[in-house]
């Protein structure tokens, strides 16, 4: 382009995306964003049409989480923008770098209740890391650059840029802005020394690993830290995949549906090293009794998490890629390692299940063992989500996409679409439940349109299973609005979108059905009918300490 050449704001938007290496945008057009869609037409930036803006933004989240890049989505003003909100909140709670661009009515009519006008900037305040409304075309390019910088820096998160229609059609000269780089917190040497002193005196240390490790690109440093120190470890839902499956002393997920060994070891430890995690209530159970004998070292890029719920003895805000190597030291903790090993053996999962009915945990374990190296597993929210976390295993955190913080049903299918676009050669499987699946079922047509080879495992107990489980345990078996026995015929539904599939009922069908699904060249739906009596075990009841886990036997007595 010639210097001094004027282009439309809408064209500048697409140029900024291209300048940031964005190759795919997820979105849905509409009146107030039409100039941007016009600029997109014929541009090198690919657009993937969703069938609901929530689906578009979740696909962008899936893209971001599976690739480590910033996801981008478009929506129009009014209902287009309001439909994005749930996905933005999801990205905020799970710290996902996302840039959402919304069209807005022209500046002259903002505040007049114009057609499809809603105060998107106002709505964005509580569900984004930051947001902008562009009111001067000369601010457009710097604002978009800033949006990308904010989304990916520090603790990542979603950034919304609302662009009125007149700004999109106004002309400007394209200039790459000079941008102030956001300063990241730096670890202090005195804090590193203090943390090393605590490590040196610890007899029973535990690592509590969260999603921050993957987001920081510190998986290798974490694995090296574990190798050098030999400290036993647990992970949060978002931390799964950070620690190599089978690592000595790794006890899997902790918390409400964590393993017994994981929770008991944390309750017993004398030093808890918290890495990129935030003491979420689903992790800690009753906070006052969580690891109550332990001193705490808390490492996170977000200083606001340090001391928010548990006051640490040493808090270090900074880049985990630098902090973890600085803390690694050989440790003499053989008796503790043996104790953890004993706990691990004592509380192993039992996949032996009497009867011919399909036991979902066993099916998922088998699926995990069959998946090729380059795989992504997405899931929705509920019982199946916890079974995925408990019984599947992942090579990297970006191989497991689960709506952790917000717990958003309907996440799995669109997230899988985004993951498949980001990693076209990967085997992408989304595990869903019969409740969650229907929440963004319209995205089946996105799979059809793009012929995306997403594999869907639909675990169907004809119930809103997790809510039913709580009704059974804590609400005197009063099953209010959790019966889904009038579900549609899911295989027939999938076939309407040219997606083949089958239903299995019996455990002896599982192996062959999984093989058939994974061998399918295109998309596939495996509908798994399970008994509605199965629940997720073990369970820390609400308000209880993590040492007081319920399991199935206790429930029956």
């Amino acid at each position: 382009m010639e210097p001094g050449q004027m282009i439309r704001g809408a064209d500048a938007v697409i140029k900024v995306l291209a300048a940031h290496g964005v190759t795919t945008v997820f979105g849905y057009p509409g009146g107030a964003i039409m100039p941007i869609y016009d600029a997109l037409y014929g541009s090198p930036v690919e657009h993937l049409l969703s069938r609901h803006e929530q689906g578009a933004a979740f696909a962008a989240v899936g893209y971001a989480r599976a690739s480590g890049k910033t996801g981008v989505c478009f929506a129009t003003s009014g209902p287009g923008a309001t439909n994005l909100i749930t996905s933005l909140a999801d990205a905020l709670l799970d710290s996902v770098p996302l840039v959402a661009i919304t069209g807005q009515v022209s500046t002259a009519v903002i505040g007049t209740d114009a057609f499809q006008e809603i105060d998107v900037l106002g709505m964005s305040l509580s569900c984004t890391k930051h947001s902008f409304m562009v009111t001067d075309v000369n601010d457009l390019i710097p604002t978009l650059y800033q949006a990308f910088e904010i989304a990916a820096s520090g603790r990542p998160g979603p950034v919304l840029v609302d662009i009125p229609k007149d700004i999109q059609i106004a002309h400007l000269e394209y200039r790459t802005p000079l941008l102030a780089i956001i300063n990241e917190p730096q670890a202090q040497m005195s804090d590193i020394d203090a943390a090393r002193a605590l490590l040196a005196e610890a007899k029973q240390p535990m690592l509590y690993v969260g999603g921050g490790v993957g987001m920081a690109g510190a998986v290798d440093q974490l694995r090296e830290f574990i190798k050098v120190t030999g400290i036993p470890s647990v992970a949060t839902l978002k931390g799964l995949g950070s620690i190599t499956h089978g690592t000595s002393g790794y006890l899997g997920m902790l918390g409400m549906h964590g393993g017994k060994a994981a929770n008991l070891a944390v309750q017993d430890c004398d030093l808890l090293i918290v890495v990129g995690a935030r003491f979420d209530d689903r992790v800690t159970g009753r906070l006052a009794s969580f690891a109550d004998k332990a001193k705490v070292i808390h490492l996170d890029i977000d200083a606001a998490e340090l001391g928010k719920l548990r006051m640490p003895e040493v808090a270090i805000a900074g880049d985990l890629r630098q902090i973890l190597p600085a803390l690694a030291m050989p440790m003499n903790i053989t008796p503790w390692q043996a104790e953890v090993e004993h706990l691990s053996r004592k509380h192993q999962w039992d996949y032996q299940h009497p009867g011919s009915l399909i036991y979902a945990p066993a099916l998922l374990r088998r699926l995990a063992n069959k998946l090729p190296e380059d795989s992504v597993v997405c899931c929705d929210v509920g019982q199946h989500q916890m079974w995925v976390a408990q019984h599947m295993w992942f090579r990297r955190p970006e191989d497991h996409l689960s709506s952790a913080g917000l717990g958003t049903m309907g996440f799995g299918l669109p997230a899988a679409i985004g993951a498949q676009v980001a990693r076209p050669d990967a085997t992408v499987v989304t595990v869903s439940g019969d409740g969650s699946f229907m929440m963004n079922v319209q995205e089946l047509t996105t799979i059809k349109r793009r012929k995306l080879p997403v594999k869907i495992v639909l675990v169907d107990n004809q119930k809103l299973g997790m809510v039913k489980q709580w009704q059974q345990l804590f609400f005197e078996e009063r099953y209010s609005e959790t019966d889904l026995s009038d579900n549609p015929d899911f295989v027939l539904l999938a076939s309407a979108f040219d997606i083949p599939g089958r239903t299995i009922f019996s455990s002896d069908e599982v192996e062959e059905a999984l093989t058939e699904m994974l061998a399918a060249k295109g998309p596939y739906l495996l509908h798994v009918a399970i008994d509605d009596a199965f629940n997720v075990w073990p369970l820390v009841p609400p308000g209880a300490s993590n040492s007081d886990m319920m399991d199935e036997m206790e429930k029956q007595t």
Partner: protein
């Protein structure tokens, strides 16, 4: 406990909403507030807030707002009075 905060924020149309929203959501009530516009495109905001929670739960979150350039916590009012007595 009543705390006193001094904020410097960038002049953006929605910046007050951001500060108010975070303050409310994190469990603090504003008991007094003063704002003045500065010549350098910034705003100065002096707030008194009331809460049973530790002030860091608010100040750390305010510090995270992109448009907040400075968030200074003064001593709790009761301690200030003790100090000056």
């Amino acid at each position: 406990m009543i705390y006193s905060l001094e904020l410097t924020v960038q002049q953006r149309p929605e910046v007050l909403e951001r500060v108010l929203r975070v303050t409310r959501h994190r469990g603090f009530t504003i008991t007094q507030m003063q704002m003045r516009m500065n010549d350098d495109a910034s705003l100065s905001l002096d707030m008194e807030v009331d809460s049973d929670r530790a002030i860091e739960l608010l100040s750390n979150q305010l510090n995270k707002l992109i448009d907040v350039t400075l968030c200074k916590v003064l001593l709790p009012m009761s301690l200030q009075q003790t100090a000056s007595a």
